[in-house]
Symmetry: C2
Subunit: 110 residues, 2 copies
Amino acid sequence: MNANNYIPKEPETIECNIEKTLDVIGGKWAFLVIRELFCGTKRFGELQRLIPAVSPRALTSTLRHLEEKGVLERQVFPTVPVTVEYTLTPKGEDLHAILKQMKLWAAKWT
Amino acid sequence: MNANNYIPKEPETIECNIEKTLDVIGGKWAFLVIRELFCGTKRFGELQRLIPAVSPRALTSTLRHLEEKGVLERQVFPTVPVTVEYTLTPKGEDLHAILKQMKLWAAKWT
């Protein structure tokens, strides 16, 4: 095989990339949490107040999911009671363009 | 209340817009179908061949969902057997920017 035999990227790979993104923001609460964190670091209780519809359990599970995906960082402070803060990583902040496009699309068409 | 009492858009409305978009593209197969239709009108059988992992039943349900959401149009031709073609509407074509951003994000970060 010589260098001129260009092998294009498999369609599956491209589709897979969209799937990977949906896996991060596609959950019921994930994009709501991400959206709040665009405005800056938040404590658990603040997120709970900002998204009253989410149960503490679902919020915990969403935050863990987003931490595993590397879109937010969790910082624990040894206060009494313990303080836990959540901040978007650069990877998380970079989701801004997607959410903005989604907002614009829905505003235009729905 | 006078005209200076500016009432900002409720956060719920904005969140809701993102949710509306996710409702359209967030399913397991929806974005794969939309992606194929960006390349032009397709028949049911063509879509089935292009996305071999989807069952005929799931493909039917996905196409119906996308038709209900107004992102694609279904056209039936009275051939034997019947020919059914699917085409993106302008609303569907406008999803391009979102899927592109999602692809770019995943390519950069995953």
